[in-house]
C-alpha cells in the first residue's frame, strides 16, 4: 500500500482525505458504512460554547450541482462533545479536528482552553459560518477579527490551530495573511458561499433562514482558485475543500496548493464518498508513482 501520509503542523494524517465540518456530524452515522479511522481526519460538527438548536427547517435545497443549507450550527455544545462524542471518535481511531464557532471572541478562547486538555488532535476555528446571526462569517470577513481570534486561541492552547476561511470576501489572501501572522498553523477553505433560492409560486425563500450556504460541485472552481490564492499568500499548509466529489477533484485541489483536502457535501449524496476518494487516491498515487508532497502546489501557471 502506497504511503499517502501528510503532515500538518506536526500531526500525521494517514492520508490527505479529511471530511468537512457539518457534513459528517461526529462520524457515528458514517462509521456504520466504513471505519472512519480510514480517513485522514474527521472535522467535527461546528461546536459552540453552549448547546444550539440551530435554525428552523427547511434548512436545505438542491441547486444546480450543489445545495444550499442553513443548519445554523445545531450542536450539543462543547461540554457534551468532550463527554460523549470525542470518546467515540477516539475509540474508533479517528484523527479528530474539533471545529469551534464562538459567538464572541472570548468564547473561542474558552473552548480552546477546554479542548487543550482533551485528545483532540487539532482545533479548527470556524470564522466563516454564513448561517448565524452573531459571530460566524462576520468575524471571517475582517482581517482584524480573524487576527484577534487567532492570536487569543493561540495563547489558549498548544494544539495546532486551523483557521477556516470564508469565500465571501474580496481578498481571501489578505485574511489568510492575517491568520498566519496571528499564529495559525494551517488554513482551511472554503466555507460555503452565501446564496438564496426562491419559490416563484409563493415568492418566499425556500429556506426558512431566507439565505443559506452554497456547496457541492458547483463551487469547486471557486474553491480551487481561492486555495491557489492562499497558497501564494502564506507559507502555511492548506486543507482545501469545496465541492470535491472524486479523487480527480482531490488531486486538482492539491495541485492548486492543498496539503490535504476535505470532502463535504459529497457525503450527503453518497455515504461512501470520502472512503471511495481515499481508495481512488491511493490508486492514483501508486499508478503515477507519486506521493502527496509531489503534487501539492505543483501547478504550472501561465
Amino acid at each position: 500500500m502506497v504511503d499517502m501520509s501528510v503532515n500538518i503542523a506536526g500531526v500525521t494524517l494517514k492520508n490527505p482525505v479529511t471530511v468537512a465540518s457539518g457534513c459528517f456530524a461526529f462520524g457515528r452515522e458514517y462509521n456504520e458504512f466504513y471505519p472512519i479511522s480510514e480517513l485522514g481526519a474527521v472535522s467535527s460538527k461546528g461546536l459552540t460554547y453552549q448547546k444550539r438548536l440551530g435554525n428552523d427547517a427547511p434548512r436545505i435545497t438542491e441547486t444546480p450541482m450543489g445545495l444550499l443549507n442553513s443548519v445554523g450550527l445545531q450542536n450539543p455544545g462543547i461540554e457534551d462533545f468532550v463527554k460523549y462524542e470525542l470518546p467515540f471518535m477516539k475509540e474508533v481511531g479517528a484523527t479528530v479536528i474539533a471545529n469551534i464557532a464562538g459567538k464572541t471572541v472570548s468564547e473561542f478562547a474558552k473552548m480552546a482552553e477546554i479542548l487543550d486538555e482533551t485528545e483532540v488532535d487539532m482545533i479548527e476555528l470556524n470564522v466563516s459560518c454564513p448561517n448565524v446571526a452573531s459571530g460566524g462569517m462576520a468575524f471571517g470577513v475582517s482581517c482584524d477579527a480573524v487576527s484577534e481570534i487567532t492570536s487569543l486561541v493561540r495563547k489558549s492552547t498548544k494544539k495546532p490551530v486551523i483557521v477556516k476561511l470564508s469565500p465571501n470576501v474580496t481578498s481571501v489572501a489578505d485574511i489568510a495573511r492575517a491568520a498566519e501572522s496571528a499564529g495559525a498553523d494551517c488554513i482551511s477553505l472554503i466555507n460555503t458561499l452565501l446564496g438564496m433560492r426562491i419559490n416563484i409560486n409563493t415568492r418566499r425563500p425556500i429556506l426558512k433562514n431566507n439565505t443559506g450556504g452554497l456547496s457541492g460541485p458547483a463551487v469547486f472552481p471557486v474553491a480551487v482558485r481561492m486555495v491557489r490564492d492562499v497558497y501564494k499568500a502564506v507559507k502555511l499548509p492548506i486543507i482545501g475543500m469545496g465541492g470535491i466529489t472524486t479523487a480527480e477533484d482531490a488531486v486538482e485541489m492539491m495541485i492548486a496548493g492543498a496539503t490535504a483536502v476535505s470532502v463535504g457535501s459529497a457525503n450527503l449524496a453518497d455515504p461512501y464518498a470520502a472512503y471511495s476518494i481515499v481508495n481512488e487516491l491511493a490508486e492514483y498515487f501508486e499508478k503515477n508513482n507519486l506521493k502527496p508532497s509531489d503534487i501539492t502546489g505543483s501547478l504550472i501557471e501561465y
Binding site: G22, C23, F24, A25, R28, E29, Y30, E32, F33, K45, L53, G54, A57, P58, R59, I60, T61, E62, T63, M65, G66, L67, N69, V71, Q74, G216, P217, S265, N267, L268, A269, D270, P271, Y272
Partner: protein, 255 residues
C-alpha cells in the same frame, strides 16, 4: 448493519394515475431489513446532486415497492426511468411505525393523499383487526384503496368533495367510527393539518397516536441535520432529524 447502498434493478414502473407512479426494484438487503414507515433515499438522476427520500409502500420477497408523486425535478427524472434500469438506492432508513408493539391490539390507519402509502404494510400485518381511513381531494386522486381493502382491513374512503366514497375529511370519518368502536392506537400519515386533527381526536379519546412527518432532506442518515423538526423530549424541545429519529414520531412529541 441494517442500511445499505444498493444498485438495484427496477423490475416494474407504471403510472397509477396522472403524475402518480409505482416503482418496484429488487434489493435483497434493503427488502430484508425494510419496516413499515421507513423510507429509501434514491439517486434520481446524475444531473441532480441530492437523493430523494420516498417512503416504502410494500415489500414482497426481495422486491421493494414505492409509490411517489411527481413533485419536482427529482421525482420527474425517477418517473422517466424504465424496467431494467439500475437504481442507486440507500436504505432502508429511519424509524417506522411501532408495528410489533401493538401486535394483537387494535390499530387504525389514517392516511391523506399520498400519505396513505406508508400505511399499507401495517394493513397487511393487522388485516381484519384494523380499520383504515383513506382521504383524497376527489375521485381523480384516489389510489390503492382496493389494495388496502384486499388486506382484509375494514377500509373507508372519504373525499373532500364526495365524488368518491363518503364526503368529508378523514377526521370526520374517524369521529364517526369512534362512536361505535375505539382502537388502542392510530398510525397516521398525510398533510400536517390532517395529522394535527387526527392527533387531537386521539388525545381527547386516550388513543396512542403515531404520525409520519416530511421534511427536505440531505444525507438521510442523521448527520447533516438539515431535516429537523421540533420534538418534545422530557421537559424540553429538541430539533431532531426526521430522517434518523423519524420519520415516524409519537403524536404527543410533535404536537
Amino acid at each position: 448493519m441494517d442500511k445499505f447502498v444498493d444498485i438495484a434493478p427496477i423490475v416494474e414502473i407504471r403510472e397509477l394515475r396522472d403524475g402518480l407512479f409505482l416503482l418496484s426494484f429488487e434489493s435483497e438487503s434493503i427488502a430484508k431489513n425494510a419496516k413499515c414507515g421507513q423510507f429509501v433515499h434514491i439517486k434520481c438522476s446524475e444531473a441532480l446532486f441530492l437523493r430523494r427520500p420516498i417512503s416504502i409502500y410494500n415489500v414482497e420477497g426481495a422486491v421493494v415497492t414505492v409509490i411517489f408523486e411527481v413533485r419536482g425535478k427529482g421525482t420527474k427524472a425517477l418517473s422517466e426511468m424504465s424496467a431494467g434500469t439500475l437504481l442507486n438506492v440507500l436504505g432502508p432508513l429511519g424509524i417506522g411505525y411501532s408495528l410489533s408493539e401493538y401486535s394483537g391490539k387494535k390499530v387504525w390507519l389514517i392516511g391523506g393523499g399520498i400519505g396513505i402509502f406508508p400505511l399499507y404494510m401495517a394493513a397487511r400485518e393487522y388485516k381484519g383487526n384494523s380499520k383504515v381511513i383513506l382521504g383524497f381531494k376527489s375521485r381523480a386522486f384516489v389510489a390503492a384503496d382496493k389494495d388496502f381493502a384486499f388486506t382484509g382491513a375494514e377500509t373507508h374512503v372519504v373525499t373532500d368533495d364526495g365524488s368518491y366514497g363518503s364526503k368529508g375529511f378523514v377526521t370526520d370519518k374517524f369521529k364517526e367510527l369512534l362512536e361505535g368502536d375505539k382502537p388502542d392506537a392510530v398510525f397516521a400519515c398525510g398533510p400536517m393539518a390532517m395529522l394535527k386533527g387526527v392527533y387531537e381526536i386521539c388525545k381527547e379519546n386516550g388513543i396512542d397516536c403515531e404520525v409520519s412527518l416530511e421534511e427536505r432532506m440531505g444525507c438521510g442518515l442523521g448527520a447533516c441535520l438539515c431535516c429537523v423538526t421540533p420534538v418534545k423530549v422530557a421537559d424540553t424541545t429538541e430539533n431532531l432529524t426526521v430522517c434518523k429519529h423519524g420519520p415516524v414520531f409519537k403524536g404527543k412529541e410533535v404536537f
